[in-house]
Amino acid sequence: MGRYVLRRLLLAIPVLLGVSLAVFLMAAAVPGDPATVLAGDTASAAQVERIRHDLGLDQPLPIQYLRFLERLAHGSLGESTRTHREVLLEIADRFPYTLALTVGAVTLSTLLGLTLGTFAALQRGRAGDYLTMGFAIAGLSIPTFLIAIVGIIVFSLQLRWLPVSGAFSPASYILPTVTLSLHSAAVKARITRSSMLEVFGQDYLRTARAKGLRERVVIVRHALKNALIPISTIVGIQFGALLGGAFIIENIFGWPGIGRLATQAIFNRDFPVVQGTVLVGAVTFALANLAVDLLYAWLDPRIRYS
């Protein structure tokens, strides 16, 4: 198992290098250079040129990329062209907020998705099934930003239960986390339902019931555990989607995460920060998927990694 994990981690390195190169090339292709943006619209050409030189942007692209790799090898993502702070520091300030939001949304959406999906499967063809799947369709079709705005109007402005923006108190986490989780919960509910219905027809469930096990044990220990394998795949993939979704949610709720940092960095052509946030996102996604792969082995003892 240890060797497998090490191999997966080593394999992630070329992937991350590929990601960094792709982001670097995309950044170079974007119209408008950082020096012009930083100098503002009243700057002279000489001023812009000096900033360009100070940032090393007057060097050929391969040299710029090699310098980026050199810094990376020394454990640095460079300096933000906008704030002059280490990119790692900028990310360290913000990443915990995004991670908290994403992990919270993954947890909530998984719990919600499993509960609703199992309930719908058990209620197949009845009102509970239609109601639950109706919720799932609504969760899938209503845009996240609309859910966010309605949430603010109802819970912050009408009921005055929750704050509108920021991450100043535990209550601040509720609206962004719930909003971010709804779409994902809907996906998981539908997959859980179909997965459970498939498992319900399996012989081992009939055997479990014939043994006289309580229905709750049959559902949770035998049906749900086997239905979890396809769902855990979705959890891994959706972790990345939720990281991406956090970009929108963070802007709406004034959340101080890397989503907003990245958005701001793109508009300001702060490419070291753009590269840094993308790399951190890629690493997080890779680790989340590795964790899911390891989870398979726990869920299905027939799966062994070596």
Partner: protein
């Protein structure tokens, strides 16, 4: 203030030490009972840095404007008065300015303010300030001298009349040398000045908190309160989304917010808020790429300028609330504006526009749209920002041009891409604005040596160059204003710009804030204000 303001709408709050409109009102209630409370503003983006030499970001300058103070400030009558300086003398050749500094002022780290600090600050600006909007100004400064603790001498290479404008901006605030050295020159989050507030907390991406400088006792005489401000804390909460900003205002999480036209009626009738309005030091204009055919022809520019209905733009886009139509390149809020210039305006006259276009060979085709003189289809392209406001104006201009048979195309670019596109002359027309409270704005936006940077219409006219040069070196105010009259007249006749409107700012403020007064440039004066608790 930088023209970047056009791209990032923020609640711009000027230095607390700036001038109010009139004689300060008398205090209501005792000073001690007013002290306390907090006020929360919105910052639309994170400030990049509080190092005033390393930024041109208006959000940052708004915040460090509370922390640092400059040598002078600009009164509402546009005259300059001493803030950290008591007085100054200009040499007969206009190249040397000797400032007499105020004594008894201390930085918030306890060290004294003196001429050495001023020299240290401006030398640092010359060394590291390439991103500062006043960097170019200090390239004209040959040497500086701290003669004694309260005498600071600035020697310029050539006379430079706009120097006082540049010295009154937040970017010209004076640093504590001790604090800069202690922070190893890294003062992005370690700002120490002489201002009425000091930095308390910088929560990245979330909030910047300033706390009252209780030792502050050098507020200008124009305030009723000469001592420390009453409000204990000022907070800038970072919220990018306009809908969330409004919700935060409604929920009481934010106390003051600049309004959009569609929101004004709601807040004006809401007893929880008072709406303040003021002009800004800016102008939005329609420009023509004057370097490239066909708009290198001033007659064609003048003809199309006459197809622009400014009043309709103000009514439709701003509901006549957030803008005022302007005749001239210098907006009416800015020194140098002269109503007599209205005689030279390219006034809205579609019939005349059609006749002039016909005369220039741009004849209507079968579909009613004009072709170029060689018979080819003519579809001039207007470049502008992705802002909602600029989008609406562009659409309206498209409709107005259509009535004279011109098929205007619109290209909206994100601001970084737009800044990169214009020096390459990719555009035919350009819609944007400037924000600069100095008639020398001509040197930034219409001079020949800026056609590869901030002169977005690539206009170069030797006659205007001469006027710009004279205006920059003429310190006699009356003569200087005549120069800018001539410059405006020339620009209005040549029409590289058709001036459109001056933005008007409206800010909703929670009524718990008392004795708040109307300021200038979209700002409010907070030094006498206090929070009712």
């Amino acid at each position: 203030m930088s023209g970047v303001l056009r791209f990032i709408p923020v609640v711009v709050l000027v230095l607390a030490a700036c001038a109010p409109q009139a004689t300060p009102p008398g205090p209501s209630g005792t000073a001690a009972s007013k002290v306390g409370g907090s006020v929360t503003f919105v910052a639309t983006t994170d400030p990049d840095t509080l190092d005033l030499h390393q930024t041109s970001n208006p959000v940052s300058s708004t915040i460090f404007g509370w922390i640092y103070e400059p040598l002078v400030y600009q009164d509402l009558d546009n005259s300059y008065k001493g803030l950290l300086s008591e007085s100054w003398a200009v040499s007969p050749d206009s190249k040397t300015i000797t400032f007499k500094l105020r004594s008894g002022i201390t930085f918030t780290d306890g060290t004294p303010f003196n001429a050495d600090a001023v020299k240290f600050t401006f030398e640092r600006l010359q060394r590291v300030g390439a991103k500062s909007p006043i960097f170019e100004t200090f390239k004209n400064v040959a040497s500086m001298e701290a003669k004694d603790a309260t005498t600071f001498v600035m020697n310029m290479k050539e006379p430079y009349a706009p120097i006082f404008h540049d010295l009154q901006t937040a970017y010209a605030g004076i640093l504590s040398p001790t604090a800069v050295k202690a922070a190893n020159d890294n003062i992005g989050r370690a700002a120490v000045g002489t201002g009425p507030y000091k930095l308390k907390d910088f929560q990245t991406g979330q909030q910047i908190t300033l706390e009252r400088n209780s030792d502050y006792k050098w507020a200008p005489a124009l305030f009723a309160n000469r001592g420390a401000p009453y409000i204990e804390e000022l907070r800038y909460r970072v919220i990018a989304e306009p809908a969330t900003q409004l919700a935060a205002l409604d929920a009481g999480e934010v106390d003051a917010l600049g309004l959009r036209a569609q929101d004004i009626a709601k807040y004006a009738s809401d007893a929880r808020f008072k709406v303040f309005d003021s002009f800004t030091f800016g102008l939005t204009y329609l420009g023509f790429d004057a370097k490239r055919p066909p708009f290198d022809n001033p007659k064609l520019r003048a003809a199309l300028a006459k197809a622009v209905n400014k009043d309709e733009i103000v009514q439709v886009v701003f509901e006549s609330k957030l803008a005022k139509a302007q005749c001239c390149p210098i907006a009416e809020s800015i020194q140098g504006y002269d109503p007599k210039l209205k005689d030279f305006e390219q006034k809205y006259d579609p019939a005349k526009a059609k006749t002039e276009l016909d005369g220039l060979g741009y004849k209507p085709g079968a579909d009613g749209m004009r072709t170029s003189p060689d018979g080819k289809p003519w579809r001039p392209v207007l470049y502008t920002t992705t802002s909602d406001t600029h989008g609406k104006i562009s659409t309206l201009l498209q409709a107005q041009f259509k009535t004279v048979g011109v098929d205007l195309q619109i290209k909206q670019l994100e601001s970084g891409a737009l800044l990169a596109a214009t020096p390459k002359a990719e555009h035919d027309l350009y819609l944007n604005g400037y924000s600069w409270n100095e008639p020398d704005m001509f040197s930034l936006f219409l001079s020949c040596d800026r056609i590869t940077s901030s002169n977005r219409v690539l206009y170069c006219n030797q006659q205007l160059e001469d006027l710009i040069r004279k205006g920059r070196t003429e310190l006699d105010q009356a003569k200087r204003m005549q120069i800018y009259f001539d410059a405006q007249k020339l620009v209005m006749q040549e029409s590289p710009w058709q001036p459109l409107y001056m933005p008007v700012s409206k800010t909703a403020v929670n009524v718990k804030i008392q004795d708040l007064r109307q300021g200038q440039a979209g700002g409010l004066y907070w030094h006498d204000a206090w929070v009712k608790r």
